[in-house]
């Protein structure tokens, strides 16, 4: 979704939510997801448009706040880990279930593997509801 579509989606959400209700947004940051085994980073997930798309999501949220459609009342960041029994299993999962993603591994790793995604969480209220 391009930034215009994201802003439009947030505008629609503003209509659908009741007064004093809220919008919760969870989306990955533009940080490239990394793959590690035993705490050692051995690779990353390559997505053609992932970082740009996630940066656009950040920009869309900032845009609707700047337009005074919403007020952000809380936000946080967290790590979302997906675990598999091996790098190969993780690769298979990612290539099957992520859009156009590829796994790039630059070191050998044995044992359970995980991919780390950095995710932003925010709570938005309709501007004016706090008045």
């Amino acid at each position: 979704m391009a930034i215009e579509g994201m802003v439009d989606a947030l505008r629609r959400a503003r209509r659908w939510v009741r007064p004093q209700g809220c919008v919760i947004d969870l989306h990955p940051t533009a940080m490239v997801p990394t793959i590690d085994v035993g705490g050692q980073v051995i690779g990353f997930v390559e997505t053609p448009d992932g970082p740009a798309r996630h940066a656009a999501a950040d920009a869309a949220v900032e845009d609707v706040i700047r337009q005074r459609l919403f007020v952000r009342t809380a936000s946080s960041m967290f790590d979302f880990y997906t675990w598999a029994d091996s790098v190969d299993e993780l690769r298979e999962h990612i290539e099957e279930s992520w859009c156009d993603a590829g796994v790039v591994v630059h070191a050998a790793g044995r044992g359970r593997a995980r991919v780390r995604e950095r995710v932003r969480a925010a709570k938005l209220l309709v501007a004016g509801d706090l008045d």
Partner: protein
């Protein structure tokens, strides 16, 4: 293949900080996918509309959570009355 998503519960913890309870709430979840997040709060919410353009994922969600109003559409195609939900949840969908 055994894959575990967020076994640490970081996502739920972050969500709980923003919204401590879904009890009694009317929720619209945008980008619900196969219901990975939906099933975590589905028993608490008063009602849920869950949308995702992926028809296969929505079929899984509908099978597992038949009480959820699951629709295989994108946000641009959704029609809802104004002010009809308490929470709109963008689940990794912006």
């Amino acid at each position: 293949m055994a894959v575990f998503e967020d076994p640490e519960g970081h996502e739920l913890a972050a969500l709980a900080q923003l919204l401590p309870s879904f009890a009694g709430l009317r929720v619209l979840e945008i980008g619900a996918g196969d219901g990975r997040l939906t099933r975590r709060y589905a028993e608490q919410a008063a009602s849920i509309v869950a949308i995702d353009p992926d028809a296969d994922d929505i079929a899984v969600l509908r099978d597992e959570l038949p009480h959820v109003d699951a629709r295989a559409i994108g946000v641009a195609d959704l029609t809802l009355p104004d002010a009809s939900v308490d929470v709109v949840l963008f689940a990794w969908s912006l």
